[in-house]
């Protein structure tokens, strides 16, 4: 059978990039499912789009849907005939209800029902055009967007108004309507060329027809063209146009054909912090920045316009004027900020509420200062406390500056510039600037240990604050970025080698909160942080159960670096042939102790021992415990674990020959204490019972 391609183009008023990208995935998914349901096979399916069209292209579709067998199930098979071999009334009734006779019924085994009567009919294939005319409108109404709207009387909901539908199977129109729009074979070209109407002869000629009209419908092709244009420009300018991926994507969905507009701006604006220059260009105008071979910003920009180079001079002038106006605004704000010492901005924090019940940002600053001071003494690392406190005092001051009020993304960073301007040292200023780091899971941490400690103090205060108000993230909801704060804390601690009892740190953070925030949820917060630590450890290649083995240790105040050392050594020694056995024996010992009905001291009385295996085991335990203590003191968990492994034979013998739950309660309790002494020994290293 001859196969043709099928096409659906939904023409809409301008939609943003993220809408297009997600709609493309959905178009493919829903169309494939509905085609399968309709028994209409296809060879390929593709979706693409621009800011004003979403396109679904299905290749190799036969003219008819496949013939389908339809089955109707009836009563149990044994009811087909009676003892005399005649059809029963039930069978006859079922046949009649299906418009047939009992002799046409078959038998089939159906799960949960056994053998039942079945009547099969063949549904002939129908035209692909008809099937598609039902499928396409369904696909359109299934599309989900981050936000929908209504615009016409049927109150159909979609991201933006639908203004045209082009739908073809080969050269035949596939006719249907959605939201008051009838499908046809007409689309429009570039809006920059007046949105001329284009009649499309067949689905197969669609992409060519639009290419002719200077529209690159396929996202990947358009991106390639855009990259090509930018690369060519870089070469011509002998500079590098910085092709920021986010900006590329955003621009990709603001145009149907990329035309670059290059121009320069006054050197004077490069006196602004370069991050600010980037932000003005990228966020406010969607322009690309230009740098030299050393990565240093140069006074040029590249804007992308849609489709034509007619009036290029107008656009260039327009872009230059807008950029200049924005830069003038920025310079105005920046120079006003520089005229004021940071302390004055800090004082204004009292007018900014942090959170209801938790005071102002000035109150939060004081808490961060206190906590940072506490951490200096508790982090087990030499830090310059003077520098920590100097930085902590200014971490939020930039929030009241003109630049940060205008460009909130620059919080922290502007703090660096203003701290330096107020006479703080480069290192302290840098610590202020690094306060919000790391910005994401893999991005850089604060540069200095002092900066890291201040940043940690801020994160712990934020975490404690929200937990105290019961604002614990659930599911994908995490409006205050608590997961990021917890993960950042874990990374800061581990990568700076801080030896910190987080249980105490969390308590210290809670203790500073005003009494109105009454929940002191140390346990859930510690667990929340632990979950991020688990992610870090498993990411580093350790197995989930190995990480679980040190959770108890962490929750009871163990430091994260110590946890990591333990996990590392468990992982390294896991290949030892005795390992699984000793873990199993420990699990058994732990269970026995848990089920004991008397309180256990963990110190057995040697005179009550009856069997050699008991004495041998205890002998080994006492001999080893001193060595183990020394290894643990040296944080040498590999040696510690090796010690535990060495006990395997006597432990196996013990469990094999000795019955712990002896009849004589004195003997039994003594044996329980022996097992308890063993468990204590193991638990000093890790909870090996978690290993699977």
């Amino acid at each position: 059978m001859l196969k043709r391609d099928a096409l659906l183009e939904i023409r809409i008023e301008n939609i943003p990039a993220r809408f297009v990208i997600s709609a493309e995935e959905q178009l493919k998914k829903y169309a494939a499912a509905l085609l399968a349901e309709a028994n209409l096979p296809f060879e390929g399916i593709e979706a693409c789009g621009t800011y004003k069209r979403l396109v679904l292209y299905i290749s190799g579709v036969p003219a008819k849907t496949e013939e389908k067998t339809q089955k109707a199930y009836g009563p149990a098979a044994r009811l087909l005939k009676d003892e005399k071999g005649a059809f029963t009334p039930q069978a006859a009734g079922f046949a009649r209800s299906r418009g047939t006779t009992p002799d046409k019924l078959g038998v089939e085994t159906v799960p949960n029902k056994g053998e039942v009567l079945v009547f099969e009919t063949k549904v002939p294939g129908r035209s692909a055009v008809k099937a598609l005319a039902e499928i396409f409108p369904q696909v359109i109404s299934k599309l989900q967007f981050p936000k929908n709207m209504v615009w016409e009387e049927s109150r159909f909901r979609f991201a933006r108004p639908i203004r045209g539908l082009l739908s073809l199977y080969g050269d035949k129109p596939v006719v249907f309507g959605v939201a008051g729009v009838k499908s046809g074979r007409v689309t429009v070209g570039l809006s920059a060329k007046g949105s001329r109407q284009i009649k499309v002869a067949s689905a197969e000629k669609y992409f060519k027809a639009l290419q002719h009209a200077d529209v690159i419908v396929r996202d990947a092709e358009r991106l390639e063209t855009l990259r090509g244009e930018i690369a060519a420009l870089s070469k011509r300018m002998k500079l590098s146009v910085e092709a920021d991926p986010e900006l590329l994507t955003e621009n990709l969905y603001l145009i149907e054909y990329p035309v670059c507009v290059v121009a320069g701006y006054s050197q004077e604006f490069l006196k602004l912090p370069h991050e600010l220059v980037h932000l003005v260009m990228k966020k406010q105008l969607k322009f690309f920045t230009v740098a030299n071979s050393k990565g240093l910003l140069q006074p040029y920009f590249v804007g992308i316009r849609d489709g034509v180079s007619k009036g290029q001079r107008n656009v260039e002038d327009g872009f230059k004027n807008v950029l200049e106006a924005r830069f003038r605004d920025a310079i105005f704000f920046y120079s006003r900020d520089l005229a004021v010492p940071l302390a004055e901005f800090k004082a204004k924090l009292s007018a900014i509420t942090f959170q209801e019940k938790l005071g102002s940002m000035l109150d939060k600053t004081s808490r961060v200062e206190e906590l940072a001071a506490w951490l200096c003494g508790a982090c087990g690392t030499a830090v310059n406390a003077g520098e920590v406190l100097a930085a902590a005092a200014q971490v939020y001051s930039d929030l009241t500056t003109n630049v940060v009020r205008e460009f909130t993304e620059l919080q922290g960073l502007m703090g660096y510039y203003y701290a330096r301007n107020s006479g703080l040292s480069e290192k302290v200023s840098r610590a202020v600037g690094d306060f919000y780091l790391p910005l994401s899971a893999k991005s850089p941490l604060p540069e200095s240990k002092e900066g890291a400690l201040v940043s940690l103090a801020g994160k712990l205060d934020t975490l404690a604050s929200d937990f105290a108000l019961g604002l614990i993230p659930s599911g994908s909801e995490d409006p205050h970025g608590l997961r990021r704060a917890a993960l950042g804390s874990v990374r800061i601690i581990l990568e700076n080698g801080f030896r910190l009892n987080l249980r105490s740190a969390v308590s210290a953070a809670f203790a500073q909160l005003p009494p109105e925030a009454s929940v002191r949820a140390a346990e859930p917060l510690l667990d929340f942080i632990w979950q991020r630590a688990e992610a870090v450890f498993t990411e580093a290649g350790y197995r989930f159960d190995e990480v679980k083995a040190v959770r108890e240790f962490f929750m009871s105040g163990g430091d994260l670096a110590d946890c990591r050392d333990r996990v590392k050594d468990i992982n390294a020694l896991r290949g030892n042939p005795d390992f699984a056995g000793i873990a199993m024996a420990f699990k058994r010992a732990k269970n026995i102790v848990r089920q004991a009905k008397v309180p256990l001291s963990g110190t057995p009385d040697e005179s009550v021992f009856e069997k050699d295996e008991e004495r041998a085991l205890y002998g080994e335990i006492t001999a080893m415990s001193g060595r183990l203590k020394a290894h643990l003191g040296n944080r040498d968990y590999a040696k510690g674990l090796t010690e535990l492994l060495s006990i395997k034979d006597s432990l196996d013998n013990f469990f094999e020959k000795v019955m712990v739950m002896a009849e004589d309660p004195k003997v039994r309790d003594n044996r329980l204490n022996l097992v308890k002494s063993l468990v204590n020994l193991f638990e000093g290293v890790a909870d090996l019972s978690q290993l699977q």
């Binding site: 800011y51 016409e152 007046g194 603001l254 804007g303 327009g318 004027n321 807008v322 105005f332």
Partner: protein, 290 residues
């Protein structure tokens, strides 16, 4: 093209599209959306096509006439069309042509920007229109007004007249815009900016502003209950203006701000309910949770 020609051309263009040229409403307001032709006009089920210049006041935006780009009083040109024309985007682009901007010789971009007005309980879906990088128009399909789901939908096109005039006249300062061939925008308005910046930031009697706010608020409820939604809505505009003045005077704390905004939303809602009940009881608009 002078500033006044600009307005004349837009009037001519939109009149040809069938819009009634409703004149500016004679009370102070922060945006054209407060004009009763927009507020009540978008609430009915009747078709509504209007256009008008609307003087607006944003007390906090004034800069004593010193900043080349910021004003405490300025002009919007507003178009409301219900139901929206199918080719409304093109009709808008043609309006630019009417004021001398051929869009095929410039870069036009539609940047996602969903407008909302918490004081009016209004929201919509739409864009900022960028002309060679400069925002010149807010283009919105209203979805809600005074917390009512709208049916049918109105499209609102709001031109920033000063921005467009600067663009066409290639001026870098608002005050340099030519109002006529001889008169500049600065000559008409600079004194206004100076005077009102002093009033807005320094002189306005905050006690009086609060006192009037409270009194008018009560009056809105009383009038709305009697079905006098039009005078009631005048007082909503006045309350909103007092709120903006208090804000410019720095007299509103963060928590009070949210409370005042809700109080204005509630009185706007009372006017809308009074209007809907009196005019379209059969319609019984769907109320939202807002």
């Amino acid at each position: 093209m002078t500033f006044q020609d600009f307005i004349l051309k837009l009037n001519q263009y939109w009149a040809r599209q069938g819009c009634a040229l409703i004149q500016p409403y004679d009370l102070e307001k922060g945006a054209g959306t407060f004009n009763p032709a927009t507020f009540f006009g978008s609430l009915t089920s009747k078709p509504n096509s209007v256009a008008y210049v609307e003087p607006c006041r944003r007390p906090g935006d004034g800069r004593f006439g010193e900043n080349p780009n910021r004003l405490g009083k300025y002009y919007q040109y507003q178009v409301i069309i219900k139901p929206p024309l199918e080719n409304i985007q093109q009709v808008y682009l043609n309006s630019l042509k009417a004021v001398g901007i051929d869009h095929t010789e410039h870069d036009i971009r539609w940047i996602e920007d969903d407008w909302e007005s918490p004081t009016l309980g209004a929201s919509g879906v739409g864009w900022e229109v960028w002309l060679d990088g400069m925002e010149v128009t807010q283009f919105t399909y209203f979805q809600q007004m005074a917390s009512y789901e709208l049916n049918p939908i109105s499209v609102e096109i709001t031109y920033g007249l000063e921005r467009l005039a600067m663009f066409v006249q290639k001026k870098k300062r608002i005050f340099d815009i030519m109002w006529t061939d001889r008169l500049t925008y600065g000559e008409v308005h600079k004194g206004v900016e100076e005077q009102f910046s002093h009033y807005n930031f320094e002189e306005a009697d905050t006690e009086n502003l609060r006192f009037n706010f409270d009194r008018w608020e009560k009056e809105v409820f009383r009038l709305a209950a009697k079905g006098y939604h039009l005078p009631a809505f005048d007082l909503v505009m006045k309350c909103s203006q007092n709120f903006n003045l208090l804000d410019a005077r720095g007299a509103i704390s963060v928590s009070e701000r949210a409370v005042l905004i809700k109080r204005i939303r509630d009185i706007a809602k009372a006017c809308a309910s009074s209007y809907v009940e009196a005019n379209e009881p059969a319609e019984k608009k769907e109320k939202t949770n807002a």
